[in-house]
């Protein structure tokens, strides 16, 4: 047999190691298949489950239902050399780069600006090129336990050259087709509406690839607006988005998406968002971090000291759209 199957072209970008068997062994040896309580503080969750050098994914941070409080905790703890799956990201990449946390980016999309630009030019940050959908497809493949997945996009781009993609001759159609490496991140950070203490989680509304990220990642930190009883989860099994057995930590963080929106619960803090976008675009990220991240010991102190109940209450009142965001 051993018929040939041509590889027509290959990208030259470094890519996160493809090792589905190794991932399986990680799951077997580290994920709790019994229901054990996983409630802990953001500090503990980030200390235990985010290591220097880890590949992290999250999405829509500072926009809607992003894990904003968890990202700020990562910055506070000064994690290093993170490789960020920068798909559907925004200002947070600049925050992580300014804080010295990130050194590699798989892009996607994010809000560029002087801080990241300088870091890239000085070689402190390396960029590998993908697109948002190619990145979520890679995570999807990771969440299927596969080593790679075909995609019908990305072929012919210059990004392809700086990626882990390959163009092969499809053994079924004989036509060229692009395949991309599956992505099994080290860490997924996911903010949800409701979770029980074991990690069974509910998400309402659209998302990018939260469920896939939860399944695909070696370590999963869920932050949640609300802790619900497992009995409540069992009353409606059809709306459980994330099953407990892929979750490592559950952190109860009301307003955990602040300053972003949490659909059905609170609107965004527009002023804050305008401030951080401005800081990113103009390069004043250090000032932003000093003011909003380093100045508070944790999320709750930040809300108390820098935001205040009145503002939070006002954000809640502006969240007038409820349809589809309640169980």
């Amino acid at each position: 047999m051993a018929r040939e199957l041509e590889v027509l072209a290959e990208g030259q970008g470094e890519y996160h190691r493809v090792d589905p068997d190794g991932f399986r062994e990680w799951v077997r040896d580290h994920k709790q298949r019994a229901m054990v309580p996983k409630l802990m503080s953001a500090k503990e969750a980030v200390e235990r489950f985010v290591q220097d050098g880890d590949y992290i994914v999250y999405e829509c941070n500072y926009i809607q239902r992003g894990p904003a409080a968890l990202i700020r905790e990562i910055i506070r703890q000064g994690k290093k050399d993170l490789w960020v799956g920068a798909k559907f990201t925004w200002v947070d990449v600049a925050l992580l780069v300014e804080a010295g946390c990130a050194s590699k980016l798989d892009v996607g999309f994010f809000l560029f600006g002087p801080v990241v630009d300088r870091a890239v030019k000085e070689g402190r940050v390396k960029i590998y090129e993908y697109s948002n959908v190619v990145m979520t497809n890679r995570i999807k493949a990771g969440a299927m336990g596969l080593p790679f997945i075909p995609v019908r996009s990305f072929g012919g781009t210059d990004g392809f050259k700086y990626s882990g993609a390959k163009l092969i001759k499809d053994p079924y159609t004989g036509q060229p087709i692009t395949i991309v490496p599956a992505l099994n991140p080290d860490v997924a950070l996911i903010h949800v509406h409701q979770a029980d203490i074991y990690g069974n989680a509910r998400v309402f509304g659209t998302g990018i690839s939260d469920v896939e990220s939860a399944l695909a990642s070696r370590k999963v930190i869920i932050s949640t607006e609300e802790i619900v009883d497992t009995e409540e989860i069992r009353n409606n099994p059809g709306i459980t988005a994330i099953p407990y057995y892929c979750v490592d930590a559950v952190v109860h963080l009301p307003f955990g998406a602040y300053p972003g929106e949490m659909a059905g619960r609170y609107a965004s803090d527009v002023e804050h968002v305008v401030e951080v976008v401005g800081a990113t675009m103009r390069g004043f990220v250090r000032q932003y971090l000093d003011k909003w991240v380093y100045s508070a010991q944790d999320h709750f102190e930040m809300l108390d000291k820098l935001v205040g109940w009145r503002k939070l209450q006002e954000m809640v009142q502006r969240a007038t759209i409820k349809e589809g965001y309640l169980p």
């Binding site: 920068a86 996607g108 560029f112 939260d210 659909a263 965004s268 305008v274 349809e323």
Partner: protein, 304 residues
């Protein structure tokens, strides 16, 4: 032949080039077809305007998998996607993966995109200006969803500004594929789906389609000359036998745009919106300085 909806009612006296472009795009929206709209900004404003006036049965989806919403306008100041106002009363909430797969299966007729640079073959650059290998470049955010939109929708429509630095013989970086090197079958050889590719490019000054996979000028706005149009391109496009005249906005279009779709001016006042144009009683055009304020908030960033 391109179908353009006819705008009814009184022509507007004052408008800017961005407004003009959005109203034109709205008139190009085909009713009853599906549109995958990149980000927010001009493409989103165009489809929203079209649904109100010309193509009520056009269906749009967003990158985060929202199918056919009836959004609460205006959007939040920053968020045209993902937010609860943007996804309101959709037919289905999916994910970026699910909508990407729908497009991959051929369910999306059109994609509408913004870009930094475009070349004669419709290749799109949203990654950087300069030289990738040498590190001498100014970097931007990356393709986001544009690569998939340009790869997977049947027809790609590009909205960009009419500037020499945007229309270049060869884009500095192909972030999202057009016809690649322009040869027949180049997309298919790169693994992209058969029969897809660039369809139109619309600037505030001109409308282009493609002939044999090469950009062709088919219409110009009445407030610019052909010479101006060509002078602001770094290559010469093919020319249609007859050039359309691209109608300027009507009062009705602008009222909807300014009061319902973009009342804060984040698409049509903030940022690079081109010149303000005055339309005289006799139908001729001239420059207009600092027209009556529309109440846009200068502290808000441009919508994305």
């Amino acid at each position: 032949m391109i179908q353009i909806h006819t705008a009814k009612g009184e022509k507007a006296s004052y408008f800017n080039e961005r407004e003009h472009q959005i109203c034109l795009m709205a008139r190009l929206i085909e009713d009853g077809k599906t549109y995958w709209v990149a980000g927010g900004g001009s493409p989103m404003a165009s489809i929203l305007l079209a649904k109100k006036l010309y193509a009520p049965n056009a269906v749009y989806v967003t990158e985060d998998g929202v199918l056919a919403p009836e959004p609460v306008l205006p959007f939040d100041p920053i968020m045209t996607m993902v937010s609860s106002r943007a996804g309101y009363r959709a037919l289905q909430w999916g994910t970026m993966n699910s909508i990407g797969f729908h497009a991959q299966m051929g369910y999306m007729d059109y994609g509408i995109l913004n870009t930094l640079q475009v070349d004669p073959y419709g290749n799109i650059n949203s990654t950087l200006l300069g030289d990738y290998e040498s590190g001498e470049f100014r970097r931007f955010g990356g393709p986001g969803g544009a690569d998939s939109i340009a790869s997977l929708c049947w027809r790609t429509i590009l909205m960009t500004d009419h500037q020499k630095r945007k229309f270049v013989p060869r884009v500095d970086f192909i972030s999202s594929p057009g016809f690649l090197d322009g040869s027949e079958g180049a997309r298919e050889r790169a693994g992209l789906p058969r029969g897809t590719g660039p369809y139109l490019v619309l600037t505030p000054w001109a409308l282009f389609d493609y002939e044999d996979r090469y950009l062709r000028l088919i219409g110009i706005s009445p407030f610019v000359t052909l010479e101006q149009v060509l002078a602001e391109m770094s290559f010469r496009p093919k020319m249609a036998d007859q050039l359309l005249t691209l109608e300027t906005p009507t009062e009705e279009e602008l009222t909807l745009l300014r009061t319902e779709i973009d009342p804060r001016g984040q698409v049509t006042i903030t940022g690079d919106i081109g010149r303000w144009i005055m339309r005289r009683e006799d139908g001729s055009f001239g420059p207009a300085d600092e027209v009556e304020a529309r109440g846009g908030d200068p502290n808000l960033p441009r919508s994305w």
